[in-house]
């Protein structure tokens, strides 16, 4: 159920958002005023040093978290006005999230892992399994339907995680270091997969430490100390 995105309303709009963590009375500012727009079909790479706030920003963009201040609109809805249940619905309908460390359910087969988001959408078991199998086929894992995560390689697990993010046909795919744990060949496969999805019209936002990966995106965003410091300095040479 892709949200029909009119040209007027971008997929995600963040205006001057901040995120401050409260650690035993000491506040840590992970984001200090970030503005960003992700339009339909966008392909954005976020780079920056460790601790600069990339993951924090991704959590906000994915409706997993709320900004401390500023405005965040996802799929045309202001998250400040949404309760936890509505946030869950928004995540389910609009966003596909690929985590750096996969986060697959260990005792569950690839097929049922992929089908999980459909459970919370009320899709029946039979259809869920069919759609999950289709999506695994698409990421090249048609032969691994009934394997559990511990029976698969890292690259295969990452592709299962991508299939899970895609099974709901989201309008935005958020990937936090999707190639970080993979060797270059496998990383290339995963990246190719994301790019083919982007070609189909899904907006892709990915976090990476790899300049070559970042260079393939339409846009690059560089973060430092909780702020966006674009324009990007092109690598010399």
């Amino acid at each position: 159920m892709t949200q029909p995105l009119s040209g007027a309303e971008p997929a995600i709009v963040a205006v001057d958002v901040t995120r401050t963590y409260d650690l035993d009375g000491v506040s840590v500012s992970a984001l200090r005023g970030v503005s960003l727009t992700v339009t339909a079909g966008d392909y954005v790479a976020i780079v920056g040093t460790s601790g600069s706030g990339k993951s924090t920003l991704m959590h906000l963009l994915g409706a997993l978290d709320r900004p401390t201040s500023g405005t965040l609109r996802i799929g045309g809805r202001d998250v400040a006005a949404l309760g936890p249940a509505e946030m869950a619905l928004l995540r389910n309908e609009t966003i596909g999230f690929v985590f750096q460390s996969f986060h697959l359910l260990a005792r569950t087969t690839a097929r049922d892992n992929v089908a999980l988001p459909l459970v919370y959408r009320g899709v029946g078991r039979r259809e869920r399994r069919a759609r999950a199998a289709e999506m695994l086929e698409r990421v090249g894992l048609g032969h691994r339907l009934d394997h559990r995560p511990n029976q698969m390689s890292g690259g295969e697990q990452q592709r299962v995680a991508i299939a899970r993010a895609l099974v709901t046909s989201p309008s935005v795919l958020l990937a936090d270091e999707p190639t970080g744990n993979l060797d270059s060949t496998t990383g290339e496969q995963v990246l190719g997969l994301l790019e083919s999805l982007n070609a189909d019209g899904v907006a892709v936002v990915l976090v990476t430490h790899d300049r070559d990966v970042a260079a393939r995106a339409h846009r690059q965003i560089v973060m430092r100390d909780g702020l966006i410091v674009t324009p990007v300095e092109e690598p010399a040479g």
């Binding site: 994915g62 999230f97 986060h103």
Partner: protein, 394 residues
Amino acid sequence: MRVAEAWRVAIDALRANRLRSILTMLGVVIGVGAVVALVAIGTGTKRQIEQQVEGLGSNLLIVVPGRLDPGAAPSASTLTMDDVEAVTRVVGDRSRVAVTISSGETVRAGTRSAYASMQGVLETTPDVFVRHLDRGTYLTRTDVTTGRRVAVLGAGTARDLFGDRDPIGRQITIGGVRFRVIGTFEQLGQSLGVDRDSEVHVPVTAAQRLLGTQRIDGLAIRAPDRERIDALGSAVVAALVKRHPDTDFSAVTQEQILGVLGDILGVLTGVLAAIAGISLLVGGVGVSNIMLVSVRERTKEIGLRKAVGARPRDIGVQFLLEAVLLTTIGGVLGMALGISTALLVDRLTPVPAAVTWWSLALAFGVSAAVGIIFGVIPAQRAGRLDPVVALRTE
């Protein structure tokens, strides 16, 4: 999330930790089993005693010296056969009056001996109380007036002394005095662990001579109908008090006996159920504890489920179902345990047990409620987890 799906997730979670689930259930199984079995024993005992009191026959008045209240010391009887004559005149019908003087005696036949309750009685006993003979005849009026040494044996005593042989016409001795067996009673069974078949009925006159006394212990009257029973009781007590101005007498009906016994046994059953209920509560706390552990262990899973669209309610329902499933499966197993314990007790021991529907319904309802009550806090905790924080935990 669909309900069927929530069930499947809950069942899977219980299966994944099979041993832990079973041990957690065990608390509930034992609690429910104890409630069902103990209530069954309480109910069975109450029912048996009621049957026995009713089995004495209807419209019965038992007259004993002293006040019938629990605090009063049992007073020594001063009643004699002359008092019985006076009561008989009030009642107007000798066949409605029975008396007893009883004493525990060793009864011998040849080389065999048995301990039995010797009852000195009138020939009217089988009419006043409902008693049926197995063989032979009962005492006659002449036996009583002449103090003839004849005896009617309870089924147990007859078996102890004579085995399979026919006791009719044989000699027995009671306290060294010879009696001739003229009849045996049908079997009665046991009551509260007491064998009711170990008895010997002899003429009251013969018993008094044997015991060297003029007294009788008490008397019983069968009223002609229910309406007159209270009036008759007062008249009899009045007649006795006139003859013994220093003594109180009580006339009690079966209803009164049943009422008192019923109250006592009702309280007993309640206490048993309450004790068993406490173990059920302890089982519930165990469920709560394990669910909290389960939430903590699966924090990451909860975070992931939320990240892909599970609402707080979906997660809460999942954990609540898990708790309810634990306690209801435990409840069903506990009912099976309770029923089979009750059946075994009923069959293998003298203690009667009757499983009641209300105790089953109650035990099951309580175990389901325990699941809900003790599952709510862990479920809420799981539902409220922040997805990002939950995903971060290791």
